[in-house]
């Protein structure tokens, strides 16, 4: 189970990084950032996985006694919840900047924007 999750997370990060570095179109670069984000989230949740553990919700199956031996680690899941929201905010900001950049130069090609390059 965790092997599948690890492979998924690592490959998503690599695909995202390759997209960020190699693509010229700004929208495709933003998609690369989102893929990188998702891969990181999968990895962080995998780190909190306990073999044979169930979801950290105290329902009738888990009960309220001796909980610690039955559930997976809830802390990485709470951190990933925060990270997803921040990732959404970053993506929205990047898209807004991309719109403004398109309005300024009528182009989404990253090599047309050399004003801040030295």
């Amino acid at each position: 189970m965790e092997i599948i999750a690890l492979i998924t997370g690592f490959s998503l990060i690599l695909i995202g990084l390759y997209g960020i570095l190699s693509k010229r179109n700004i929208i495709k670069i933003i998609v690369g950032f989102s893929l990188f984000d998702t891969g990181l989230h999968v990895l962080i949740v995998t780190v909190g996985y306990i073999k044979g553990g169930t979801a950290p919700i105290l329902d009738s199956v888990v009960g309220t006694t001796d909980v610690a031996s039955k559930i997976v680690d809830p802390v990485p899941q709470a951190l990933v919840l925060t990270a997803i929201v921040i990732g959404l905010g970053v993506t929205a900001l990047m898209l807004a900047y991309a719109l403004k950049m398109y309005q300024a130069k009528k182009s989404l090609d990253i090599s047309d924007f050399k004003d801040m390059k030295w």
Binding site: A55, P74, V75, A78, I86, L95
Partner: protein
């Protein structure tokens, strides 16, 4: 050519690091001491069956306040950037909205909104919570905008809902200092019966405010992105 070489070198280097990480990954069999405390004492201290919610809202409530603040900042920066100054024209539609999506939006928008409210009110009992519920409410607005491209989201209502729920969230936290153990402590209200909807102290209240705030902020971002389409590019 040289650029491609560098890109492949960087990606391959990271892949090599990942392969070593992958081979040395050991299954963990026990929880960390911190997680053990949350698991064993969570039910008695916070009273929420969903441990992720009790961590997000109570044990690490300050993080959540910061998270909501960041989302608010994003919404205000996006509306600042995409401010409409130029002359507006109506969007020329390439073709009419299809009958299927029109009918489906009439049927689904209220149901999707109710689902969003359900998800954030039950955040302490079932998987879900304020952020998830808010995102579901925003998807209802996406469907509405796809069906009627000229639909205008009322900014006045959205900003009132957003500021009232944001201030109430902080006020519940301050009441925690006055009446209970500290900022954002959920024992402001009685803990109630474990597993019922009105339980876990202030968590359902806080998550409802978070849900309304996130939903209105995301709808605000969406309506800004929709509005700029009308501008001359």
């Amino acid at each position: 050519m040289i650029r491609n070489f560098f890109i492949i070198a960087i990606v391959a280097g990271l892949a090599a690091i990942f392969v070593t990480l992958f081979w040395n990954f050991g299954d963990s069999t026990t929880l960390t001491p911190l997680a053990t405390h949350y698991a064993d004492k969570g039910a008695a201290e916070v009273g929420a069956p969903n441990l992720v919610t009790s961590i997000v809202v109570t044990y690490r409530g300050f993080d959540t306040l910061g998270e909501v603040t960041i989302l608010f900042l994003v919404a205000s920066i996006v509306s600042f950037f995409l401010k409409r100054e130029k002359l507006q024209k109506d969007i020329e539609l390439k073709r009419e909205t299809s009958e299927i999506i029109l009918t489906a939006s009439k049927l689904l928008v209220p149901i999707v909104m109710v689902l969003g409210v359900y998800v954030f009110i039950n955040g302490h009992l079932t998987p879900g919570g304020g952020f998830q519920g808010g995102a579901i409410i925003a998807t209802a607005f996406v469907l509405l905008l796809m069906a009627n491209p000229d639909f205008k989201i009322n900014h006045r209502i959205i900003s009132i809902v957003e500021s009232v729920s944001g201030i109430s969230f902080v006020l519940v936290g301050v009441f925690g200092i006055l009446l209970a153990g500290g900022f954002l402590d959920n024992k402001v209200l009685p803990l109630g019966t474990f597993g019922k909807i009105f339980s876990a102290g202030a968590i359902p209240l806080i998550y409802s405010f978070v849900g309304l705030k996130v939903g209105s902020e995301l709808s605000n971002i969406l309506s800004n992105f929709q509005g700029i389409q009308k501008e001359e590019m």
